[in-house]
Amino acid sequence: MTAVQTATDTILEVNDLKTYIFTRAATVKAVDGISFNLRKGETLGIVGESGCGKTMTALSLLRLVPKPAGRIVEGEIVLNGEDILQKSEDEMRDVRGRQISMILQDPQTSLNPVFTIGNQLREALGIAHRENKSSMLSRAVDALRKVNVAAPERRLDDYPHQMSGGMKQRVVGAIAMSCEPGVIIADEPTTALDVTIQLQYLRLLKEIQAETGLAIIFITHDFGVVARMCDRVAVMYAGRIIEQGDVRDIFSRPAHPYTQALINSVPKLEQSVDRLYSIDGQPPLLSNLPEGCRFAPRCPYVSDQCYEAYPQSYTLNEGHYADCWALDADWQGTPIEEFVPPTGTAG
């Protein structure tokens, strides 16, 4: 990526971001030095096991880390050319919703049960456009129509508990997108929905992206969804991005043993069950991280080197990086086998 591209294309740039949670018992390093770029109109997938810090990363980007225990301790978040970590809380309110927004993990509980969805939608709209009531109303109707809610005029007076899960999810989407932010973070937006509704919803997001040139950060632990949705992918493990790159690249040549394991564990229709790869063991506690590679206790290619120091980052391709000693030319341990991608995936 050239400097010119950065200036024109990049909407979000995250550098060495660290978000720690200080509990009485320990310091949880939920996000421990991650960096990535996001271009306009691009979809970046963030994948990783439960508890690896995906949601905390997303909340950090909005500066909504749970207070007072959680704190962004280091790094830069450059959104539209400005480091939002330097902004005051007042200025942040203009950033949230208008420049960057987020769709939360659980649509069932994302809407306030005591207000109508019209009220909640208008509130979101009102923050960007301070207009009169009737134009606000028509904007609210438009916003619902955009997310394919049938008969939006009538839906405005409904309370959340009167809607289905899929419908609520779209309303949450409509609220998040109501102020036309440049970046939207979708945190596992479909886990609470059933499969057909998931697909519908993902397609909808894609359509909206095509229309508006929105950049999406898509958080999931489903590599299948990543393949369908994303242009690039970042794989997170224990608070760090251990590999990132183009989706095709990663699927065709996953470099990090953890990424390989993840891709292998995606069930394929034509694959017999006994070949399904699963990763033994548990990720380390974020409150008690080892010195060296965090994947070492579970890694089939581990050597002494891995326990001594955190691996350096290796560039495999343009924009494809991975943190693993086994990628080093002087690697002393077991070589990473030539990886055979499962059939039927991208690349």
Binding site: T23, P66, L285, L286
Partner: protein, 361 residues
Amino acid sequence: MAAVTTTPEVAAPSTPQRENRLVSGLRVARELPVIPLLVLILLLAIPAIFANQLAPHSQRIGVLDDAKLPPFWISESFEERMVVQRADRNRLDVEIGLSNAQRKVERGEATILVGGEDGEVNPGDTLRFQARKGGSMEYPLGTDKQGRDILSRIMHGARISLMVSSLAILLGGGLGTLLGMLAAYRGGKTDSIIMRIVDIKLAFPSILLALVLVAAIGAGFTTVIVVIAVLLWARYARVVRGEALAIKQQDFIDRARVSGASNARIMMRHIFPNLVNTVVVLATLEVGHVIILESTLSFLGAGIPAPTPAWGVMVADGRDLITTAWWIFLFPCLAIVLTVLSMNLLGDWLRDKLDPKLRNI
């Protein structure tokens, strides 16, 4: 600004088993509510048990010459001023009415400071009383208007509070537990009748019910216990029923039934032991409540009858003298508040340890 919840993942790294037990033992010891326990032992248990041995003076007979002595730290004697008000049925705080004041002036016990131009005491005049004796260690917390030692009476009062609350809880808790178990175990009509009565009982303001009951039976030690028990049982019945219903679902009850155990046996041998924690926690949580009820009834004159030094009675005694001899009402008040406070803290702690699901009752 969301609240931070610690996730189980953030648990301490595992250590050898034995050390863990030691550590958790130490933690329990450290978490023990030391101050409440000390207060309870010093203020309630020891005086209650050893009142006869420890109390420096009689609980009932006072020395009139020593009436209304202040506590020991107010040692200097001092004079007292008072504005004369007209005696009024609704103004219980006015200690001396006009005639009373007149008598005191005539006897030379008080002089008129402001007013009294005609040599008479008129409403609105300010009187100055003669110097009064200061307090001493003889009566550490002072004396009441009959010259009785307040400390001794508080000690005896502790015994009454303890007796009333334990007996009332035993009675009410026992009844409630029994009815709750019966409702859960028998189900159907028994259940709905018992629970309907519980609802009605819980829907009735308790002091009012107690007052009407006391008026019906007549005040006295036994009445207080019975009345409080009547107020208590419903809460027990409701909680115990809920618990017992859950226990009833479990396999071992079916097994007992299949093996031919009688209903009474199943209830006593199989269901009740599983309820013990709940019942104990409820009992501790209720002690404070019962002490408040008892002292309120006694204060209103519908509880323990007067010469007995129940704390509520003592407060009622001192109420009229609040302007001149505050220690008479204040110390028994503090005894009640401290005891109940400690009991509540202890109850909370016990509940968190034994039966956390009771937290929201």
